[in-house]
Amino acid sequence: MSHHELADVSGFFVLNWGNVASVFGLAVSLVTLAVASKAREAAEAARAIARRQNLTEVLQDAVRKNEQVGLFLSQRKWDIVWLRAQETASAASLGLARWPQELSTGSKDNLLRGQQLANSIAGVALKAAGETLTQREIARIAQAQGRVAQLLATELGESLRKSEGGKQ
């Protein structure tokens, strides 16, 4: 670049320093905005993964509690069957109340069914504490417990699948 051209360029900057500073400021603002929005998206994705992870943990807990319903049912320990069945129903209610956005309509239906079936098990277990149940009644509880296991396993699998999908 010749001395003359250099003088032209510096002359341009001297005359237009305000405009140049504005353009530079705009560019910096755009870059900052892009970085901030990427950071916000990343934070939202991390929050969504954490929420899904919490739902998965609640479902895992519900599955364990329902397994214990089956275990104590076989031992005819009705007070513990009542307690665990109530806890299973509560876990289903918690899932429905805390994660309405993470759950599809089908998943909510499954949790609602699980909640009602677990409640019905608790109701019969409470009755069993005061009177002897017939084999048919015990078979009905076992059937309901198996169905709750099926419903919760479906939802746990779905939640795990979505968690893994979200991490990729």
Binding site: K108, L112, R113, Q116, S120, R140, Q145, R147
Partner: protein, 105 residues
């Protein structure tokens, strides 16, 4: 005294149950069946003390309403249909009729 909306609800549930649009299943209690709708409400239908009843609950297990066959006679029909669906009576009948049909051959 049942309201017009409650009549309509029972009517619609009965219609959808007959069309097999709604799935019912047995609970741990004798003669009680459960169904859910839209992930928001559950229905329990059962026969207690010679009266058929329907209860609607929200997702927090709060009872929103209960109606029985004394106030809405259609509840009795709903119970019968729900029971048929939950216990897969049609499928059992088909299977038995099929088996009986084969006995003549």
């Amino acid at each position: 005294m049942a309201t017009e909306k409650e009549f309509k609800l029972v009517e619609q549930l009965l219609d959808k149950t007959r069309r097999r649009s709604i799935a019912w299943e047995p609970t741990a209690k004798n003669d009680e069946f459960v169904s859910t709708l839209g992930g928001r409400v559950s229905f329990l239908v059962g026969a207690w003390h010679n009266t058929e009843s329907l209860a609607m609950k929200d997702d927090l297990d709060r009872v929103l309403l209960t109606v029985d066959s004394d106030s809405i006679p259609l509840v009795s029909e709903l119970y019968t249909e729900a029971r048929r669906v939950a216990l897969k009576v049609e499928e059992s009948l088909d299977s038995v009729l099929d088996q009986l049909g084969r006995l003549d051959v």
